[in-house]
């Protein structure tokens, strides 16, 4: 009876879920949840493209949809929408987004390959233009850029990347929500503790050789720090 609210089909190895742009958001998501639960094994691990039509979806609704899918082991790979609001919400949540078009459904495009708009969308973060002193903390759901030093005793925690244009001597945690592709960059990398997603390193004691900009990332299940060249 409610089947017209959602449509699920496989496109190019992905699952495309189209949600009715007019029906109440709550009933659409409720029905989606029960549809997935009915056939949990079929959907497990799938990457989802969600098509939202012209419906403007605010960030908190999109974030709850993302959580709804993630709780069921699905990842939200792409948000397709005709609404500017929805696309902004998706960008704020670090999700890939695309203009919706039924004609294009067979030929999914991400913003990187969109030849029409030369404008890169990028992802969001906060800039802190001061030295972060002992006892101070910055949190962000996006990225964090510190234009200054992060002193011992200060904490920088980001869901995305961390860039310190200065000395990183405090605590830094990138990918704090579990993103292992997050990186930490600093002009002088000597954090008291460095975390990326669930991995952790501490600076080795003793004198370091030279000071050069470095990047920390997760590789082979451990954090490695290397010069940027």
């Amino acid at each position: 009876m409610h089947d017209e609210l959602i449509a699920i089909k496989g496109v190019n190895g992905r699952l495309l879920i189209s949600l009715s742009p007019t029906e109440k958001w709550g009933s659409v998501t409720d029905q989606l949840a029960s549809r997935i639960d009915e056939q949990a094994e079929f959907y497990a691990g799938a990457e989802i493209t969600v098509e939202l039509g012209a419906r403007p979806v605010p960030k908190y609704e999109l974030s709850s949809l993302k959580a709804l899918l993630e709780r069921r082991g699905l990842s939200l790979g792409l948000v397709r929408s005709e609404s500017e609001t929805t696309r902004e919400s998706a960008i704020a949540l670090d999700l890939k987004t695309d203009r919706a078009s039924h004609n294009e459904a067979k030929r999914p495009r991400t913003r990187e390959t969109d030849p029409v708009s030369p404008e890169e969308t990028g992802t969001q973060g906060v800039l802190f233009r001061r030295t972060l002193r002992s006892g101070r903390t910055i949190h962000s759901d996006g990225h964090i850029i510190v234009f200054g030093d992060v002193n011992p005793g200060a904490k920088v925690i980001a869901s995305g990347d961390i860039v310190v244009w200065g000395k990183l001597r405090g605590y830094a945690h990138a990918g704090a929500m579990g993103d292992e592709s997050a990186v930490v960059c600093a002009l002088d990398m000597s954090p008291s503790q460095l975390r990326i997603a669930g991995y952790l390193v501490t600076s080795p004691p003793g004198q370091r050789k030279g000071i050069a900009p470095e990047v920390a990332r997760v590789r082979d299940r451990q954090i490695i720090v290397e010069a940027r060249d």
């Binding site: 002193r133 002992s134 101070r136 030093d149 011992p152 005793g153």
Partner: protein
């Protein structure tokens, strides 16, 4: 023109805030300024002891705030300098007896009659520190060249900046040149590298400071003390003179006395 309120703070205890306050008070007075020093460490007063004025205390800061004493009555004149006064802390009460607003009001009254109002902040980052910070026009942060003191100074500087009183200036106290040379103590450059604050004074370790504090005659009155000379230089920088930093490396003796003579001390 009203006087300037200078708060002396550190975060960590025992780095020499009170010694610095007493010595700067005396140095500024010896430069001809009208100075009042306030001990904001209510409950644990000791600025009066270091200044040798303990036995003259009748009223204290809490008495003024609570209206039991007039401002003038509670101010103790220094034995040697007519222009130097002390407002002592209460020993029987705690920091909650005074509010930041009380301190602002008190400082505003004092601004009319004095060139400098120095406030000796208690250690820590709680109410006592807030009281001392509230009326400040300028904050001097005292630290020792050691990691824990620098860490606490950094914390305090963050709070000072957050209260829009920053960034403040730095006094590095108890520097031991021999240890710095051996790499066993942070140098003033190391401290600056972390805190990034203008250094207004580097005070060498000097045994005379301890005996001076115990006898209630602050070390800046001792002409043969290098620490005393360094404190004097800080006072001169506070009043706007451009004074070069001491060469802490030279041997003591004739040369320094000669320098002091030239500098008009």
């Amino acid at each position: 023109m009203g006087g300037k309120v200078v708060t002396i703070s550190s975060g960590k205890g025992g780095v020499g805030k009170t010694t610095a306050t007493a010595n700067l008070g005396i140095s500024l007075a010896s430069l001809g300024k009208k100075v009042v020093v306030i001990d904001a460490d209510i409950g644990l007063r000791n600025l009066d002891v270091i200044m040798g004025l303990e036995n003259r205390i009748v009223y204290d800061l809490v008495d003024i705030v609570e209206g039991r004493s007039k401002l003038r009555q509670a101010m103790i004149k220094h034995k040697k300098f007519d222009q130097l006064f002390l407002i002592p802390a209460a020993q029987t009460r705690d920091k909650m007896a005074v509010s930041p607003d009380d301190m602002v009001q008190l400082a505003d009254q004092l601004r009319e009659d004095f060139d400098f109002i120095l406030i000796d902040s208690p250690a820590g980052i709680e109410r006592g520190f807030r009281n001392a910070l509230a009326p400040a026009d300028e904050v001097l942060i005292v630290t020792n060249p050691e990691v824990s003191a620098v860490r606490d100074a950094d914390r305090i500087i963050g709070l000072i900046e957050a209260a829009d009183k920053g960034p403040g200036k730095l006094i590095i106290n108890r520097l031991k040149t021999e240890l710095v040379k051996k790499g066993e103590m942070l140098s003033s450059e190391d401290v600056y590298d972390i805190l990034g604050l203008t250094i207004i004074g580097i005070i060498p370790e000097d045994e005379l400071v301890l005996s001076a504090s115990n006898s209630g005659v602050p070390v800046t009155l001792n002409l043969s003390s290098k620490a005393g000379l360094a404190f004097n230089n800080v006072a001169r920088r506070i009043v706007g003179e451009d004074v070069p930093f001491l060469n802490l490396d030279d041997s003591p003796g004739l040369l320094r006395r000669l320098l002091r003579f030239i500098e008009g001390q």
